[in-house]
């Protein structure tokens, strides 16, 4: 999908630290994290709640400032950017998906999806075409005129995904995208994530859900603000067409 897959990593974070000041006391959330994500990679970040995984992803997208460490996005140093600099970088290179969908409540589905394109400076015509394409891809073209409140959770999250992809970002960041969905809607969103990943989209995703994490190429486990494991998910050496029984028996 990308014209030329360069060898520049999409993300290169080194020694990333985040310390909150709570009532004058320093509370470290992320304590020295290094991460490199290559183009087209799908990385899942797991860890118990409070392990700093959301903070980490927020820092990668500039939603929170780092206390120390470096962040390079697409070969460009990003951690030194101002709040506005980050905002501009985000609108061009980063798409965000959140747990609670966070569609702009006043705006229709169509407006929500067009907003990032318009923000990026696209013409209204171009933004509309891109929106029509994305909503068609997600099977939501009929809901274009609906208000977010009229959609189910799964539909809202699909719209949020379309919005995140509106500017064809280099990086898709997702924070518990299925955390608030039932299993059927989770399946729909997962299918979509798999699809965009196969098209070459780089994804970094925080999740608790093993089904979501199992789709990733690589799993990063955080514990107490530090990476305790970072490795690809191996393919099991087993005959194709194995059954659930095999699997259940294997680990049971």
């Amino acid at each position: 999908m990308w014209p030329a897959v360069t060898s520049t990593p999409v993300i290169r974070a080194t020694g990333l630290v985040k310390i909150y000041q709570t009532g004058g006391l320093p509370v470290p959330a992320v304590r020295g994290v290094d991460l490199v994500v290559e183009p087209g990679e799908f990385v899942a970040i797991m860890g118990p709640s409070g392990s700093g995984k959301s903070t980490f992803v927020h820092m990668l997208g500039g939603l929170e400032t780092r206390t120390s460490g470096e962040i390079w996005l697409d070969g460009k140093r990003a951690d030194t950017l101002s709040e506005s600099g980050w905002a501009v970088l985000r609108r061009q290179k980063v798409g965000f998906v959140f747990q609670f969908f966070n569609l702009v409540t006043n705006m229709t589905v169509a407006d929500n999806v067009e907003l990032p394109a318009l923000l990026g400076g696209a013409s209204p015509k171009h933004a509309r075409e891109r929106r029509e394409y994305l909503l068609a891809e997600l099977g939501l073209e009929e809901r274009a005129g609906a208000a977010p409140g009229q959609l189910s959770g799964g539909e809202q999250q699909r719209v949020a995904l379309a919005r995140a992809l509106a500017n064809q970002p280099r990086l898709l960041l997702a924070d518990e995208p299925t955390g608030n969905l039932d299993s059927r809607n989770t399946r729909d969103v997962l299918k979509l994530l798999g699809k965009v990943h196969r098209q070459g989209q780089t994804i970094v995703l925080v999740t608790h859900d093993a089904r979501v994490a199992s789709m990733a190429d690589r799993v990063v486990s955080l514990l107490d603000g530090q990476i305790v494991d970072d490795a690809p998910i191996a393919r099991l050496q087993r005959r194709p067409g194995g059954t659930a029984g095999d699997i259940v028996e294997l680990h049971g």
Binding site: M46, G47, P48, S183, L190, D209, A210, R211, A213, S214, M215, V219, S221, L223, V228, D229, A231, I233, A234, R235, L236, R238, G241, G242, T243, A244, G245, D246, I247, V248, E249, L250, H251, G252
Partner: protein, 168 residues
């Protein structure tokens, strides 16, 4: 295997191959299909225990086949099985033994154990996901079976997380 066969026979008398087919149709690819030998061995044992009765049926151009009927004792055993609550998930876990005991010996590091186990579970989960995609969406029994396996895995992963938090 014994009791599912009794259950199938409670519906109608059948011969061994018919039983194998019934199992496959019901559970689909989600469940390991038993081989025919296993089924005949089990049926033999059931007959010896008096739960089933075999009747030879003559066939015109083939060897006689055995059709199995459920006996009264068999029905009783089946009813007892159905009435009795099923045991919950296992509490004895081999991985847990490793996790607790291995570090004592200095052979392995707990963190590494947990990480390896997690990756393994995630591989399993991916397989299940792929299996689910291959499974006919109309087969509800199969789907539920896969979902059950996934939920167990999720629970195992959550538990792994607890282990990592508390033991390392």
């Amino acid at each position: 295997m014994r009791l599912p066969l009794l259950a199938l026979l409670a519906k109608e008398p059948a011969h061994g191959y018919e039983l194998k087919q019934a199992l496959e149709v019901t559970f689909g690819s989600a469940y390991p299909s038993p081989n025919i030998g296993q089924i005949y061995v089990t049926l033999g044992r059931l007959e010896k225990d008096g739960f089933v009765r075999a009747v030879d049926v003559e066939q015109s151009n083939r060897p006689n086949k055995k059709v199995y009927y459920l006996t009264a004792a068999g029905r009783e055993a089946l009813e007892a099985w159905v009435d009795e609550p099923t045991e919950g998930p296992r509490v004895r876990d081999e991985f847990f033994m490793k996790l607790v005991l291995a570090p004592l010996t200095g052979i392995a590091d707990r963190m590494a154990l947990v990480n390896r186990q997690r990756r393994h579970y995630l591989s399993l989960m991916r397989d299940l996901g792929e299996l689910a995609e291959r499974t006919d969406p109309g087969n509800r029994v199969a789907r539920l079976l896969i979902e059950g396996a996934m939920l167990h895995l999720q629970a195992d992963l959550d538990w792994l997380e607890r282990c990592q938090e508390d033991l390392t």
